[in-house]
Symmetry: C2
Subunit: 159 residues, 2 copies
Amino acid sequence: MTYYNLGIRRETSADIATRWLPEVSRRLPDGCDGGLVFSFGVNDTTIEQSQCRVFFDNSVKNANQILTVAKGLFPVLMVSPPPIADQEQNIRTAELSQQFTEVCRQLYIPYLDVFRPLQASRVWMDEVAAYDGAHPSSSGYSQMAELVQSWQAWQSWFT
Amino acid sequence: MTYYNLGIRRETSADIATRWLPEVSRRLPDGCDGGLVFSFGVNDTTIEQSQCRVFFDNSVKNANQILTVAKGLFPVLMVSPPPIADQEQNIRTAELSQQFTEVCRQLYIPYLDVFRPLQASRVWMDEVAAYDGAHPSSSGYSQMAELVQSWQAWQSWFT
């Protein structure tokens, strides 16, 4: 099995919308038993020049468009954006995650909420605050990975 | 520091020539202190349907074209293709690596020969043979990483 991590720093749902398909197509050629796991949203809810980098409604539209196309091509899962050290931004991210839940429900795409368990995790929140305000250290990443690993929709890809 | 691994299974120099620039441009935006490390060639020398996937001269042209454009944009390093478990293919790869040395010399791009030290490494060669004929396990990868880490051109990026 080969996995490709296609995350790019600072990218919003609008950025991902314009590149995910060519980059994925190169990596999952016909005849390959591929799957896609999306996770985005925190960069959308960052304030720059007094406004969100991507407006709420556009984030939802981008998610809907990306996921609709993706599910026609591959098995698709989605993982919520995680909390960061900025509590006001977390409120916006939680609202966005709530809306992503609904988008995925309508598209029959499994959605994993890591926002709430990680917000309740002292390890995650302390490590994010101690590092750069947005990324944890290895214990925090392990906690996120454990949430994914114990997710039945993820497990179903390997059984 | 953020690093992006953009390797794709089975890709030849011809495949890389068509995608490296858009994928790199997304990841190293203006104002970012970026650098590129290329390494390719083994997939070029694989025989399919009685011939090399990429003819020798075309591999050299692709390398020249990729590296010429790249060096106009970013600091560039190149690492040779490694040996695999197929000794006939290794002869072709060694010849290609020799030619890549010359391409890089002409472009003033530092080139690291990992082919010869890895071919002399029992760990590398045994692990490659034991796994899938082309990829080692963790000890082999560590040896390759150590060659890069002790390379002065690589070290110069961090001092």
